[in-house]
Subunit: 104 residues, 2 copies
Amino acid sequence: MPVTLLALYRRPDGGVEALETFQRRYAEEHAPLMRQVPGLRSMEVSRVQQALTESDIVMTCAMAFDGRAELDAALASDEMRAAGRNIRAIAPGLLTLLVVEREP
Amino acid sequence: MPVTLLALYRRPDGGVEALETFQRRYAEEHAPLMRQVPGLRSMEVSRVQQALTESDIVMTCAMAFDGRAELDAALASDEMRAAGRNIRAIAPGLLTLLVVEREP
């Protein structure tokens, strides 16, 4: 059963400049690190264009794996540890990270 | 440019029973109402299996539309109003609703 690692990023303090810096570092540093993680099948980054309820989420990323075992191996990998260190540096305290499974 | 309406549902008060009631009413009442919304291209419901950071999100639903104009028409439709009334009844105050656009 495929599983998805769903990352939700909250807006950083510091206005438009801080948001642009986060988005640039995400694209230039974090995405390339994530793409090296073993077992990653796809990675879809989306920007929030509008919040229809109160929300401070500004970006999402859905990362697909073939199954829970493959995700667990990925989470334990050196490549994921490097990606984790990077995201804690560029988005400290701004990440919600969920394992989700699509309903049949 | 396709757009997605991303719904994030927080855990209801009331333990496992309240969560199961929400999930049952979502599947039996809300999903059929949403599927009638004009312009909806696909609808992916996912359950949160694990939160790797602190989070009270238990379910997500990604609803795809062909573009912003199609989404706006959907949001203004009688069918969406009916779906909105339903979700406010079965998940009061538990919904975060975002318009997201995938990065190229």
